[in-house]
């Protein structure tokens, strides 16, 4: 189980006063303090880790957020920012002496501008909510994490979320124009705006992916893009994982950048098919979902090129979606993959390392070996085009030994990713889950530098502490 910093006794002792102080800042229905009602806030998308918070606040305005942060700063109370609570790295895991500030009620779309191609939305608008708001005019918001149905743009900014289509369209950082930022002192300011690449330090780039370490974001200005004329997905099934990996290399090597290039192995194919009924090949060891865009003729031309390439790897089957519904079903299966694995295993840990794509066959082979060593099943689904792996380690949370093994297995996979030249996390963030592995990727000095940058924003380490950086060697938290 993960170690959390000891609650500050002076904060715990003053709980009644702190709650009264918060109550004065927000309407009654925006403050949750009863133990029973705090319970569902003790965890997020990584349910293996749990911790009850001191209180939960659900502000409706930036001013309320600022007032709460200012108050917490004055009182030395820690703050855990929360969006939809879909983090797979425990990014919203509370601390016993911390106030959770949830942005779910800030879910309004403030402005849409098609001529300048941007939308201004509150942080609690769901990722898909942005696309839905502009889809009628043919536009979309490009980053599409699997949880896009539920995850919120504020969380996307904080985790720099990716998605299936980022091979072409980039991740959150590449699709932002500006944010409204609130510091722990309760200061509000805009970073960026409605223009591209302003002069000065790239604070927007630093804030994106900062996992709530630097401040909170309450409004986001995103770029919206005009969608292609159409898009079509095809499935290609192969008899082994390495062969599918070779097909991926060959496609990219040919100069084609499909908008999406996704990989699934046998266990995943079966789980997802049970959920989405998309016609996935149940007899395959590995399957690729390859999507191309453009007019029907353009799609045909590209798909023909891709089929020719895949054909060199003796595919078991190839199938092109025949309708928009079929494409949707194919994607429904892929996007529901994590949850769908819940059908075959009560619990799973979802890893998120990235590796150089050339290492795919080697790394997947090693994962299979480890799976046998640990005696735990693993289902693989990932973004093949960019080497972002998502091995889902299946375990039984009601069995502590099984969980410990799963954690060790996961750590081994991530170490392997770093060893072959990759990184610990491609899109889910470090959170609490991978915090202690940071030393595998960074030197002590490098970690200290990052910590010092956090300190420049949040000297007392009140914002989402105990995440991202290992507790060991953490001068501020140790002192606290």
């Amino acid at each position: 189980m993960i170690r959390l910093p000891a609650p500050k006794p002076e904060v715990m002792a003053r709980r009644p006063q702190i709650l009264a102080g918060l109550a004065a800042l927000v309407p009654a229905d925006a403050l949750i303090t009863e133990e029973l009602r705090l319970r569902p806030y003790e965890t997020d998308g990584l349910a293996a880790y749990r911790q009850m918070p001191l209180a939960v606040v659900l502000p409706r305005t930036t001013e309320e957020v600022a007032a709460v942060l200012r108050f917490c700063h004055q009182q030395g109370v820690r703050v855990i920012p929360r969006g939809a609570g879909t983090s797979l790295s425990g990014g919203a895991l509370p601390l016993a002496d911390a106030v959770v500030v949830g942005l779910m009620r800030m879910n309004h779309i403030l402005d849409i501008n098609f001529e300048d191609r941007y939308a201004v939305v509150e942080a609690g608008v769901t990722n898909i909510g942005i696309t839905q708001a502009v889809a009628g005019d043919g536009f979309f918001y490009a980053p599409d994490p699997s949880s896009q149905l539920a995850c919120m743009i504020g969380g996307n900014v904080m985790m720099n979320s990716g998605g299936a289509h980022c091979l072409k369209y980039g991740v959150t950082a590449n699709n932002l124009l500006g944010v409204k930022f609130v510091t722990i002192e309760g200061e509000i300011f805009e970073v960026g705006g409605t223009h591209l690449d302003g002069a000065g330090y790239d604070w927007l780039g630093l804030i994106t992916g900062s996992e709530g370490q630097l401040g909170m974001v309450t409004e986001v200005t995103v770029r919206i893009l005009r969608g292609p004329e159409g898009a079509r997905a095809m499935l290609a099934a192969f008899s082994s994982i390495p062969i599918a990996g070779q097909a991926v290399d060959a496609i990219i090597g040919s100069g084609i950048i499909p908008v999406a290039l996704e990989f699934m192995d046998r266990p995943c194919i079966h789980a997802c098919e049970a959920f989405a009924h998309a016609g996935y090949p149940l007899d395959a060891e590995a399957m690729l979902i390859i999507e191309v865009e453009g007019s029907v003729a353009e799609q045909d031309a590209l798909l023909a090129r891709i089929r020719d390439i895949c054909a060199q790897f003796s595919p078991i089957s190839m199938k092109v979606a025949e309708s928009a519904e079929q494409s949707l079903a194919i994607w429904k299966g892929r996007k529901g993959a994590f949850g769908a694995v819940g059908r075959i295993s009560p619990d799973y840990l979802c890893m998120d390392g990235t590796i150089p794509t050339g290492e795919l066959p080697f790394v997947l082979g090693r994962i299979t070996q480890m799976s046998e060593q640990y005696g735990l099943g693993v289902a693989n689904v990932f973004h093949a085009g960019d080497g972002n792996l998502h091995p889902l380690i299946m375990f039984d949370a009601n069995d502590p030994a099984s969980f410990a093994k799963a954690e060790a297995f996961g750590a081994d996979i991530l170490k392997l990713c770093v060893e072959v030249g990759g990184c610990l996390t491609g899109e889910h963030g470090v959170g609490v889950e991978k915090r202690d592995l940071m030393t595998v990727q960074f030197t002590a000095d490098e970690l200290d530098l990052q910590r010092a940058i956090k300190s420049a924003f949040d000297p007392a380490w009140l914002l989402n502490p105990a995440k991202v950086f290992p507790l060991e060697g953490n001068k501020v938290l140790d002192a606290a």
């Binding site: 029973l36 569902p40 806030y41 293996a48 879910n107 909510g129 959920f275 949850g339 819940g342 009560p346």
Partner: protein, 432 residues
């Protein structure tokens, strides 16, 4: 997700099922965003995932439910949108049914609420009593502004009066056997329902007309009545089981007597429950009969598609907004069929945005949770208006009443289909 039941607790077959459901939930949170109450209230506690967590905590501890648990579980519409979204296949319906029963059995609600719930449970399942109450309510409606106070009870009473129709149609009894017209192609039973009979007897009439015209004999056994959904969703286990049992026995007798090609339900809220009889009675002596009944249960649109519905008239050129009742789209996973049938009948069919969100009717919800219900209704009406459609079709009486008050005229899908196949033009759209 991890659970913490003791081995003793897991001896209880009901808890065992609940544990199985909880274990399937991986806490991914996908379901939150498609939950109407989360969208409106923005609190994890009013989301499916939050409710699942609350229920888990409540059942694990074995403690009686408190006001807080009752509050958040009561706010659930049982719309089952979460089940459509859930990639992991969590059976939220069975879990929340279990939880409602636990609340009902272990928590004592404040007196006015208890009284209100008892009255509803007494009235709604019985068409005779319900009609009588509606007459009274109609008389009381102009006085609703005089109910003082902003308390929950006052709001609920006002909401109830608000819902009373201006016009209470004359009853059209349907029990008995309705012979097929022409050559008999088959034989079906029809659930006559309870509240729907009172509010709009034309729906049953249209169903019988259409089916008999298509060559099906329709039987409505006198012993069958309310499906039990209303009381079931209030957590009132015993009365719900009693009414359901009556239906099972009545229909099973018909299966034995003359064979049935289907048990037709034209109120999708009831359909979801009838299809669940097999589960509800799994540990009862009637288990087998219940399973037989559930297997034969079908929504009227399923029946019409299977029996090859064909129109005989040319449809007028107006656009129909199809409102997908939650019990149909989420509960029974029937989404395309009704639209296909309406299109086959010749109508231009439009689907409002946010079609997955409940209209706020949800059985007795619009009376018990008037504020949330009103918000959802307003949201639904705005989306429907945006389609520009002249009429709204839906397959559930609750939705028809909820949307009909304030929106474009509403008709049951079967009424439009019957009209296009030779039946009369539905009264609600006479002026169109």
């Amino acid at each position: 997700m991890q659970t913490n039941f003791t081995p003793e607790q897991l001896q209880d077959p009901e808890l065992k099922v609940a544990n199985g459901i909880l274990r399937t939930c991986v806490h991914c949170g996908f379901c939150t965003a498609t939950c109407p109450t989360f969208v409106e209230l923005g609190d994890e506690l009013d989301s499916p995932r939050g409710r699942i967590y609350l229920i888990k905590d409540m059942l694990e501890s074995g403690r009686p439910a408190s006001e807080l648990e009752a509050r958040h579980i009561d706010r659930c519409l049982s719309c089952l949108s979460c089940m459509t979204t859930c990639p992991s296949g969590v059976n939220y319906m069975h879990l929340v049914d279990h939880a409602r029963r636990h609340v009902e059995e272990t928590y004592t609600r404040p007196l006015p609420e208890r009284a209100l719930r008892s009255v509803l449970a007494m009235l709604l399942p019985h068409p005779g009593r319900f009609r009588w109450a509606m007459r009274l309510a109609k008389l009381g409606k102009p006085l609703r502004g005089l109910i003082p106070g902003q308390g929950t009870t006052a709001k609920r009473l006002r909401a109830m009066l608000e819902l009373a129709p201006e016009h209470i149609p004359a009853p059209q009894p349907v029990t008995g056997t309705h012979p097929a017209e022409g050559a008999r192609r088959g034989r079906v039973a029809m659930l006559a329902g309870c509240a729907q009979q009172v509010l709009d007897p034309e729906i049953n009439a249209a169903t019988i007309r259409l089916l008999t015209r298509m060559g099906y004999e329709v039987v409505v056994p006198p012993a069958a009545g309310c499906c039990g959904a209303l009381t079931h969703h209030m957590g009132r286990h015993d009365p719900a089981m009693a009414t359901a049992r009556a239906n099972i026995l009545a229909w099973d007798a018909e299966i034995a007597a003359g064979g049935l090609d289907g048990i037709i339900v034209n109120a999708s809220g009831c359909g979801t429950t009838v299809k669940d009889y097999g589960f509800m009675f799994r540990n009862e002596p009637e288990a087998e009969a219940a399973a037989r009944v559930s297997a034969l249960a079908m929504d009227i649109t399923e029946a019409l598609a299977r029996f090859d519905y064909t129109p005989s008239r040319t449809a007028p050129p107006f656009t129909v907004a199809y409102h997908s009742a939650c019990s149909l789209q989420h509960g029974q996973k029937i989404t395309a069929l009704p639209k296909q049938l309406l299109a086959k009948a010749g109508f231009v069919v439009k689907e409002p945005a946010e079609g997955h969100l409940c209209c706020g009717s949800a059985g007795t919800y619009n009376m018990m949770q008037p504020e949330i219900s009103a918000k959802l209704k307003a949201r639904k009406l705005a989306n429907i208006r945006r389609t520009g459609a002249a009429v709204v079709a839906a397959g559930n009486i609750g939705c028809l009443t909820q949307i009909g008050a304030g929106g474009p005229p509403t008709v049951h899908t079967v009424q439009l289909l019957d009209w296009m196949a030779g039946g009369p033009k539905p009264k609600a759209i006479e002026g169109l």
